[in-house]
């Protein structure tokens, strides 16, 4: 136990043990796409058996694919922006939850709890219908299109979750770190910014990435409020094809596939980081 730093059972504080971490890029396997492709092809094959003069299912899907992918890029855009806004606001709230000022602490706590325990869809509706269609900032009229409102609506629960991630990470540090910094006459602010938060970053990264993956998958909720993202476009494409029932399964399977391809690597990387940080202090 020569290298043990702290007497603790927290995995992150355990002694240093080098871990084999393979090169991430080379280790992502795409075998997982096989069953999904099979699903698309399979459903289209069954659909095609009822022979018809109309275009085959696969050809129809191929025709709509560029539009659907464009829609998905919109989902990614919404998720990245909602994550950025939510992280910024959540960081402020999380640090507010640790404040010694009672008013700041309790109001940060209240906001965090309120938005963390609210259904995302309700928050989305809330943002859609309560935000104005344009805002006046110092005389400049800034329009707020639907997708911006949706982004704000989705940023709210992200904010609350980031706030809790920060609070949890800070509280997970051994109290000795605070005491050592206090004994060296660091102010509370210095202790937080120089000693505590830098040590928390590594702990916060995996749950933060996990939250991002969940947010990305939740962006399809924006279709309910009419934002032209991938789900809305899929619905419109299907309607344009006259509501052919044979197209339903392949089209939605395709949407599932895009999300899987995007989110699975994030989940894998998160798990890798979690494993890495669980042994290296």
């Amino acid at each position: 136990m020569k290298y043990q730093t702290y007497k603790t059972d927290l995995p992150v504080m355990m002694p240093y043990k080098p871990v084999e971490i393979e090169n991430f890029g080379s280790s992502i396997k795409f075998w997982y796409l096989v069953p999904i492709l099979a699903l698309i092809l399979g459903t289209s094959a069954i659909a095609q058996s009822g022979s018809d003069i109309r275009l085959g299912t696969m050809q129809t899907l191929m025709r709509w694919m560029p539009l659907l992918l464009q829609g998905f890029i919109f989902n990614v855009l919404i998720s990245v922006m909602a994550m950025a806004i939510g992280t910024g606001l959540g960081a402020a709230l999380g640090i507010g939850q640790l404040s010694h000022n009672r008013l700041v602490r309790s109001s940060s706590w209240l906001l965090t709890q309120f938005f963390r325990n609210a259904p995302w869809l309700v928050l989305l509706f809330f943002a859609m219908f309560l935000l104005p269609f344009e805002v006046n900032i110092f005389g400049i009229i800034v329009p707020l299109p639907d997708w911006v409102k949706a982004t704000i609506g989705l940023a709210l629960p992200v904010m609350a979750n980031v706030s809790e991630i920060i609070r949890g990470a800070v509280l997970s540090l051994p109290s000795g770190q605070w005491e050592a910094a206090e004994s060296l006459a660091y102010s509370r602010r210095q202790t937080l910014w120089l000693i505590i938060l830098p040590q928390c970053l590594k702990r916060m990264l995996p749950p933060w990435m996990n939250l991002y993956a969940i947010l990305t998958m939740a962006t399809v909720l924006a279709s309910i409020v009419g934002v032209s993202e991938v789900m809305t476009l899929t619905g419109e494409a299907l309607a344009a094809e006259g509501g052919r029932p044979d197209l339903l399964a392949p089209f939605y399977a395709f949407v599932l596939l895009i999300f899987f391809v995007y989110c699975y690597p994030i989940a894998q990387l998160t798990m890798r980081l979690e494993r890495k940080f669980s042994v290296i202090n």
């Binding site: 770190q177 050592a180 060296l184 006459a185 660091y186 210095q190 000693i195 040590q199």
Partner: protein, 249 residues
């Protein structure tokens, strides 16, 4: 009010402290003069660590007074940061900052807290690491050092603030036996240099060798206090006799 070094540097008077219903300190008084080395011994849970944590304000007290260089520690008006610049502390678990190298651990507080020039602080930190025998560990992170080495960095870190008194809270209790001596030797050199030290320790041989006086704690009170030779050589209290018969001296 001005303080001069003919008065006690740390003056503890009739201090009471409890955690909830558990009374930990029941009327403790102790004066420590400048340059004096005081060891506090006694069974676990007798309040030794709590007392020294009260001296730099990590714990507050319910009654009594603690003066450090004539300033009341429990005065709500007191600037605790100013107090802590004068009172250094070394912990059982070292509590080094794991994301900083040994050198950064030592030089960070002088730069950030005392606003010393970076180059001067760095030079001082290099000298301090040499003083504790770790000149080759400047760039090592705490996780890469043994417990004894980490504890010596922690002592250097505390010294970098140029404190008037240093509190040592069972600093060898978490160490492997073979690294205990290097830490004790470091403290002994400090004591010989005239640093005022208050140590809570279970190392009886060390206490006997290095202390000017030794205080024996029993159930939240100082049961007996005397010169090291007398306290160990001819203990008066029956609790102390019992305690000493149980531990190796």
């Amino acid at each position: 009010m001005s303080w001069n070094d003919s008065e006690p540097m740390v003056s503890i008077k009739d201090v009471y402290k409890s955690f909830g219903t558990l009374e930990v300190l029941k009327g403790v008084s102790l004066d420590v003069m400048k340059g004096e080395v005081i060891c506090i011994i006694g069974p676990s849970g007798s309040g030794k660590s709590t007392l020294i944590r009260c001296i730099n304000g990590l714990n507050d007290v319910q009654a009594g007074s603690i003066l450090v260089e004539g300033q009341e520690v429990n005065d709500p008006e007191l600037d605790k940061l100013e107090l802590r610049k004068k009172v250094g502390m070394v912990f059982q678990q070292y509590n080094l900052f794991p994301h900083k190298t040994a050198l950064e651990n030592v030089m960070m507080a002088p730069i950030r807290v005392l606003k010393h020039d970076k180059e001067i602080a760095k030079k001082a930190a290099v000298d301090l690491l040499r003083k504790v025998g770790l000149e080759d560990k400047e760039k090592a992170y705490p996780g890469e050092m043994s417990g004894g080495q980490q504890q010596r960095v922690a002592i250097a870190r505390s010294l970098a603030m140029n404190p008037d008194v240093i509190l040592f809270d069972e600093v060898t209790a978490a160490l492997d036996p073979e690294t205990v001596n290097e830490v004790l030797l470091t403290i002994k050199r400090l004591a010989e240099d005239g640093m005022t030290c208050i140590l809570v320790t279970h190392e009886m041989g060390f206490a006997r060798e290095v202390s000017d006086r030794v205080a024996f704690f029993h159930e939240g009170k100082i049961e007996e206090i005397n010169q090291a030779e007398n306290l160990f050589g001819s203990p008066k209290s029956k609790y102390l006799k019992k305690f000493l018969s149980k531990v190796k001296t």
